[in-house]
């Protein structure tokens, strides 16, 4: 009998350990994916710098890779376009998103909230290609009538449409942050005779600040990395411009537009990987800092 019990125990331990190790191996796969993404980008980006000097890549103001005689690979126009589009969408999305969050978390009637929260999730779920389609056909026409832009498709149109993508991300994340603020803080503040706005602005928002900043950073990260909206709405002209009403080519749009036609192992091919690497590093930093801030918010309460 004792022998049998022992053998059962042994078999159990064997199965348990086997399961634990196989789970660990599967989890390691996720790490493996990120490492592969990073390594592969670096490996494919490095050959670009054998032909293009890092100086002309990072500070060159002309992106003209298809020129037969003298192709130029300067990332500055692409970077500026990405920056402008992100700036426009952030300027629209941050105030509206913040206002919407405060309404949703503090002011809205529970029944209104029960409808609005799914609505915001649905907005977040709309495929970016549909947003781009809308920008291309409708928003660009509206912008043309109102602002009389240089090009019909321009950075402004892309930025406005991107803000529709940023807002739901921002709202749902910063609402979590506001909800994590303990009730007792709010009640203590009311007990001191403050109005609702004073409680919101002096107690709740400061307490939720790390979470809200993280939400803003994550949504900016999404805007930087978004492809379809900008490729459809921004006109894709690779010239250096600071005019938001002129067309421009962002980093993501460059990859999407040019990867299909590029010859494998050409300088252009590697240059696109270099652009991808810059994009990867940019969003990685944004995400990493946002993650640290979110942890801080969690630890606080």
């Amino acid at each position: 009998m004792a022998v049998k019990v022992k053998s059962i125990a042994r078999r159990r331990a064997f199965v348990e350990n086997g399961i634990r190790y196989s789970f660990a191996a599967i989890s390691a796969f996720s790490i493996f994916v990120l490492v592969i993404v990073a390594l592969f980008l670096i490996i494919n980006a490095l050959p670009a710098f054998r032909v293009i000097s890092p100086d002309t890549f990072f500070f060159g103001t002309v992106w003209d890779p298809t020129s037969p005689l003298h192709p130029l690979y300067g990332i500055v126009p692409l970077f500026v376009a990405t920056l402008l589009v992100t700036l426009i969408s952030a300027l629209i999305a941050i105030p509206i998103g913040l206002g919407c969050t405060i309404y949703l978390a503090e002011l809205a009637h529970p029944r209104v909230r029960a409808i609005m929260k799914p609505a915001i999730e649905v907005l977040a779920g709309i495929p970016s290609v549909v947003l781009g389609f809308f920008a291309l056909i409708v928003l660009a026409t509206w912008a043309q009538d109102i602002f009389d832009p240089v090009n019909r498709l321009n950075l402004f149109v892309g930025g406005v449409m991107l803000s529709a993508m940023m807002i739901p991300i921002m709202v749902s994340l910063s609402e979590d942050a506001i909800n994590s603020v303990p009730r007792s803080l709010k009640e203590a503040s009311y007990a001191l005779g403050t109005t609702r706005w004073e409680t919101i602005s002096k107690v709740i928002l400061p307490a939720a600040k790390p979470g809200i900043v993280a939400a803003i950073m994550l949504s900016i990260g999404r805007a930087v990395g978004e492809t379809m909206v900008v490729v459809m709405a921004c006109g894709n002209a690779p010239h250096l411009t600071f005019n938001i009403f002129s067309s421009g080519l962002t980093m993501t749009a460059t990859i999407a537009n040019e990867m299909g036609e590029v010859a494998f192992n050409s300088t252009h091919y590697y240059a696109l990987f270099a652009v991808g690497l810059v994009l990867f590093i940019l969003t990685f930093i944004l995400n990493y800092v946002a993650d640290i801030l979110l942890n801080r918010q969690e630890e606080r309460y």
């Binding site: 996720s30 206002g99 709309i126 781009g132 529709a164 459809m232």
Partner: protein, 323 residues
């Protein structure tokens, strides 16, 4: 202006912000529905496109998208859910318990005549106990990796899929290359969603099971996972909708504008709804506009429908299990 008036004005502004957000959704969805509803018909859903996308239907694009998301799920769901189980259930244990392994290694070394059979002279170490939920290095790396994988732009995944899968592994522009790329993309979503629900199961449930003599795996299989299934399902459905709507990765890894047959195998190229919408809207004439509206509406219905299903499941079970 006294503080009451100021408050009223500000609250009005906040309400306005919320209204803008809702209005955006209504305008977007309304525009696509109003323009697309007239195009949708049985033949539009079941026919191949004809005459340069001005007649016929979008059947191959719908099927391509369905094939694609099925493949993505086959790859991403098992890996995602099992990783979530590991992260939430096993990560407080060391991957290899050296205290246990060391004597075994020693015995092995003795049997192989690699060393003398001598018991260690060191006094036995006091076993350090770890707090529950304390983080191991592996877990910490895993957490950083998962959060950062979620933020990598989809076009970068596309670049990876193109360079690594299509060219390096020689898969060609194919369903499988796109599916693996999209699986990388949705993996963090599946992991995060599953982890949250698994960790929401109260510890008392696990303790009760362990106290009855069940092993850890038995506890997970028959107690933790059944309670987390609705939450995991929600996460999976949301990831499906994300995968169905992504365009940038499939643009680089295998979607075609026009293909006269359905994909024959996982190694053949395919048509997909989001890519078809993109290509028609940017590269084709206005004569294809009805088909653009139709594709946009079908895609939107698919994605929004999946989202709604996920929200309904979540709300239903959130009421059922209230810990």
């Amino acid at each position: 202006m006294d503080r009451k008036q100021k408050e009223k004005l500000l609250f009005l502004l906040f309400r306005l912000c919320a209204l803008i957000v809702v209005a955006t959704l209504v305008v977007l969805v309304g525009y696509v529905v109003i323009n697309g509803i007239g195009v949708i018909s049985w033949s539009f859903l079941t026919e191949f496109p004809r005459q340069g996308f001005t007649a016929g239907g979008i059947f191959p694009a719908i099927m391509g998208t369905l094939y694609l998301i099925a493949l993505v799920m086959v790859i991403a769901v098992p890996i995602g859910v099992l990783t979530a189980v590991y992260v939430s259930e096993y990560s407080d244990q060391p991957l290899i318990d050296f205290e246990k392994v060391r004597p075994r290694l020693r015995r092995l070394a003795v049997t192989l005549h690699l060393r003398e059979n001598a018991e260690p002279k060191r006094p036995a170490k006091v076993k350090k106990t770890r707090k529950r939920g304390s983080q191991r290095l592996f877990y910490r790396i895993l957490r950083i990796v998962i959060t950062n994988l979620a933020g990598v732009p989809s076009i970068v995944y596309g670049l990876l899929g193109f360079g690594m899968l299509v060219i390096f592994f020689n898969m060609g522009m194919s369903l499988i290359a796109s599916a693996i790329t999209l699986a990388f993309l949705v993996l963090p979503l599946v992991i995060t969603a599953s982890r949250e629900t698994i960790e929401a199961v109260p510890y008392s449930v696990r303790e009760a099971s362990l106290a009855l003599g069940a092993t850890k795996w038995q506890t997970i299989r028959s107690h933790v996972l059944p309670y987390s299934i609705p939450g995991i399902l929600t996460g999976v459905i949301l990831s499906i909708s994300r995968a169905a709507g992504e365009t940038a990765p499939i643009l680089l890894t295998g979607a075609l504008v026009l293909k006269q047959t359905l994909p024959e195998s996982v190694f053949s190229s395919y048509m997909a709804l989001p890519y078809q919408l993109y290509a028609l809207a940017t590269q084709y004439s206005d004569a294809t506009r009805p088909m653009q509206y139709g594709s946009a509406l079908v895609l939107l219905l698919m994605v929004v429908g999946l989202n709604l299903v996920a929200i309904i499941i979540r709300n239903k079970y959130r009421k059922k299990y209230r810990w």
